[in-house]
């Protein structure tokens, strides 16, 4: 009974937050509410027995998306300051009926699926069986890196494509005008000295724990990106115009290493992408984590490269 009450509370919270995000007056508030929505989503995932998704949602869905939205908003404001006052909603008589119709359709479909008693999915059973031979304890890492790893490889390619596509439209002024040299706030330096090593530690833990417990390269990459974002905010890392070699290596490392290992095993007679052992999984995950973190930090900085700022 209490369980259901908690779920009702989370569900109602999700709906209220989503509604306020959409119809709220100011865009800035919308972003903040969207982040809170993401965090509540993470609670919902935990309740649904999906701790991996809870971590991913908190780190990627709420954290990274929120940071990217905030920085995009700041850029809009910098171009012209009256952003949040802009009338952002328009009247439409169709909107409510269409939305209600769409929602009801999804409700009917979803309830129909849930109502039917079904055997566990064939693929799900296969995962459970195969997992015992693999040495991994976390079935989700198993699916992502051993069984359906082409999805994961192409997903890293999608992230790279998104960065490259964003790069075609980055205004160069981010890089040209370095962050105005503010006097650095003393507390921020102290914070960085504690937080950056700690985030690296947490990211490493998430990566290694990902084989047994919830966690993995994407969550770890997002956490690592967070410390990069802090460094950019504090001016320790500054946007740079050209794509220099270190950021480029970081961007491509995951995709390259994954592809090369996946191809190299063919030389030994194994099928394409059949990873030779857990060491390969860890190696690839580490590379992916670095690539994800680098891509996200560059997207946040809105630039092709980074250089060290004056401390």
């Amino acid at each position: 009974m209490t369980d259901l009450a908690v779920d009702v509370l989370i569900g109602a919270g999700l709906l209220a937050l989503a509604w306020q995000t959409i119809i709220g007056k100011s865009l800035f508030r919308g972003i903040v509410l969207f982040v809170v929505f993401g965090l509540t989503m993470a609670l919902a995932w935990a309740r649904m027995g999906a701790p991996d998704l809870a971590l991913a949602e908190a780190a990627i869905g709420a954290g990274v998306t929120g940071a990217l939205m905030l920085v995009a908003f700041r850029r809009l404001v910098r171009i012209r300051p009256e952003q949040s006052a802009q009338p952002a909603l328009r009247r439409s008589r169709l909107a409510l009926p269409v939305a209600v119709l769409a929602g009801s359709l999804v409700a009917v479909i979803g309830l129909a699926v849930v109502a039917v008693e079904r055997d566990p999915a064939v693929a799900g059973q296969a995962v459970a069986q195969a997992l015992t031979d693999s040495g991994l304890g976390n079935p989700i890492t198993g699916v992502l890196l051993l069984y359906r790893n082409l999805d994961t490889l192409l997903e890293v390619a999608v992230l790279l494509a998104a960065f490259l596509a964003a790069r075609t439209v980055f205004g160069e002024d981010e890089a040209r005008s370095p962050t105005p040299s503010r006097r650095e706030v003393p507390l921020v330096g102290a914070l960085l000295a504690i937080i950056v090593p700690l985030t690296i530690l947490i990211a490493t833990h998430l990566l290694l724990a990902g084989s047994r417990e919830p966690g993995g390269a994407f969550q770890a990459g997002a956490v690592l990106a967070a410390s990069g974002v802090l460094l950019v905010l504090a001016g320790r890392l500054q946007p740079a115009a050209g794509l220099s070699s270190w950021p480029a290596l970081g961007l491509t490392l995951g995709l390259m290493l994954f592809s090369l290992i996946g191809l190299a095993v063919m030389a030994f007679g194994a099928p394409l992408l059949a990873l030779p052992g857990l060491w390969a999984v860890y190696l690839i995950e580490t590379a992916m984590m670095l690539s994800i973190a680098m891509t996200l930090v560059l997207l946040f900085a809105g630039a092709s490269g980074l250089r060290r700022g004056s401390p």
Partner: protein, 103 residues
């Protein structure tokens, strides 16, 4: 009512809110909120709809959703960059037609 059914209903509500937002919002940032909310609705549905395995949730849809979340963030990041540049070039952060366009 079971928790699963509850979350299915929440997903349906979120989907409806997303659709509503997509129609009434003209600022692109709001449209992105709406699309991301719709995406979350579908992710919840995918996980809730899969039958459990020995009482544990099926890992496959969760892995698919994890991939989906990362793809959603990638697309959102690109859309945000596109929005900023569109605003810089045209002074508009919405898709309302500007009458001088085309011919």
């Amino acid at each position: 009512m079971s928790s699963t059914a509850l979350y299915v209903l929440v997903a349906a509500g979120l989907f409806g809110i997303g659709v509503y937002g997509l129609i009434i919002a003209s600022h692109l940032l709001r449209k992105l909120f709406a699309i991301n909310i719709m995406g979350n609705a579908i992710f919840v549905l995918m996980v809730a709809a899969s039958a459990p395995l020995d009482g544990r949730p099926d890992a496959v849809p969760q892995a698919l959703v994890l991939t989906g979340i990362v793809i959603a963030v990638s697309a959102t990041a690109f859309a945000l960059a596109l929005m900023v540049q569109l605003y810089r070039v045209t002074g508009q952060a919405s898709l309302e037609e500007d009458p001088t366009e085309d011919d």
